[in-house]
């Protein structure tokens, strides 16, 4: 049994490890100090976990839109997505 068929590469490994760390970190944070639901600038009441999901999904869309509409480096979109994530987690 080998995992050769999964065709791992360094960038995707880093990507998934980052996501996994985010999820584990969130779980530990919420287990130690549960922070309840609240209403920020988003039109719905959210928990930090909800905001993380919204942030990740919208970041994926930001990056895809950048890739599809412009020919500039994707790092710009990445920076925008990170800033957006922070804004969303803090004030969303």
């Amino acid at each position: 049994m080998s995992f050769e068929w999964m065709a791992w590469t360094m960038p995707t490994a880093i990507f998934f490890i980052t996501i996994a760390c985010l999820l584990i970190g969130m779980t530990i944070w919420q287990a130690l100090a549960p922070s309840g639901e609240r209403e920020g600038f988003l039109p719905i009441i959210t928990t930090p976990g909800d905001r993380l999901f919204i942030g990740l999904l919208s970041s994926a869309y930001i990056n895809l839109a950048w890739l599809g509409l412009t020919s500039l480096s994707l790092w710009f979109a990445f920076v925008i997505a990170v800033i957006w994530m922070i804004v969303l987690m803090r004030w969303g």
């Binding site: 049994m1 080998s2 068929w5 999964m6 779980t27 919420q30 287990a31 928990t47 976990g49 999901f53």
Partner: protein
């Protein structure tokens, strides 16, 4: 007068609904030469030759058996794993419960086409290609979430006082769950089993891709016939009619719960 107008409308709808199925039944009772030469609204020389061929030719009837094998395995796996989880979702609030519930939903909604290639590779690695188990496991992707959702809907209808009383009386969780709770929701379990059966039975894409010969489902055997040149319409229609029979036989028992099952337990 008003009632009559409604009834007439309903009857027209049912006729339109049954017409395509009737037409296939009509075809299944005729030989291919008869179908291609004459156009009739009912079989003038009804014959069971097509059905006899399906029941005597192993390459045909093994398709039905294969489908039954993997569908039954899937129902068992789905129910066994989903029962405790549905209980947890209906009775407890725990860390990440809502997110987990949502994640299950995404798998019910995910396009099977997306999972096609990795499933093939994954099951190849474990040497499971062309086994019933592979198809049963791959159908868990959408059936386990469905089972959790439907069972949770039924379990939430059972008052929690029953659980509390049982725990006060000194029942352990497994004993309570098996001897008191499971009988209470047996309707829900039956309905869930029916829907797992159904959604596994109607699926084609994964079942076809993960099998080659030994575990090939009836659905795939039928599509093979379609692509062959000079295909036998009568035989194809008979095979189709036989795939409708299992669902039609049990539909009466779940008629009052159909909406619940199709709406993921949310009605």
């Amino acid at each position: 007068m008003k009632i009559q107008k409604r009834t007439i409308g309903l009857i027209i709808y049912f006729i339109l609904l049954m017409l395509p199925i009737y037409w296939m039944l009509n075809m299944s009772l005729r030989t291919n030469a008869d179908i291609l030469s004459t156009f009739t609204f009912y079989p003038q020389n009804p014959t069971l030759a097509n059905y006899i061929k399906i029941f005597t030719d192993p390459s045909w009837y093994s398709g039905y058996l294969n489908s039954f094998y993997y569908v039954s395995m899937n129902v068992v796996i789905s129910l066994v794993t989903a029962l405790p989880a549905a209980y947890a979702f209906s009775r407890y609030s725990f860390l990440g419960d809502k997110h987990l519930f949502f994640w299950l939903l995404t798998n019910r909604m995910a396009p099977p086409a997306v999972f096609l290639l990795p499933f093939f590779q994954l099951y190849s690695t474990f040497g499971l290609i062309d086994t019933h188990f592979a198809v049963a496991l791959s159908h868990c992707l959408f059936n386990v979430p469905l089972a959790v959702w439907v069972l949770e809907g039924f379990m939430s209808g059972v008052p929690r006082e029953i659980d509390e009383m049982a725990y006060i009386d000194g029942y352990s969780f497994p004993r309570f769950f098996l001897t008191i709770f499971t009988p209470l929701i047996r309707t829900g379990i039956g309905v869930t089993a029916f829907f797992c059966f159904m959604f596994s039975w109607v699926e084609l894409l994964l079942a076809r891709t993960l099998t080659t010969t030994e575990a090939k489902p009836i659905a795939a055997i039928m599509t093979r016939t379609v692509s062959a040149s000079g295909l036998d319409w009568g035989l194809l229609a008979a095979a189709g009619i036989l795939t409708i029979v299992p669902g039609a036989l049990v539909i009466w028992f779940v008629r009052n719960h159909l909406a619940k099952g199709f709406a993921l337990g949310r009605v």
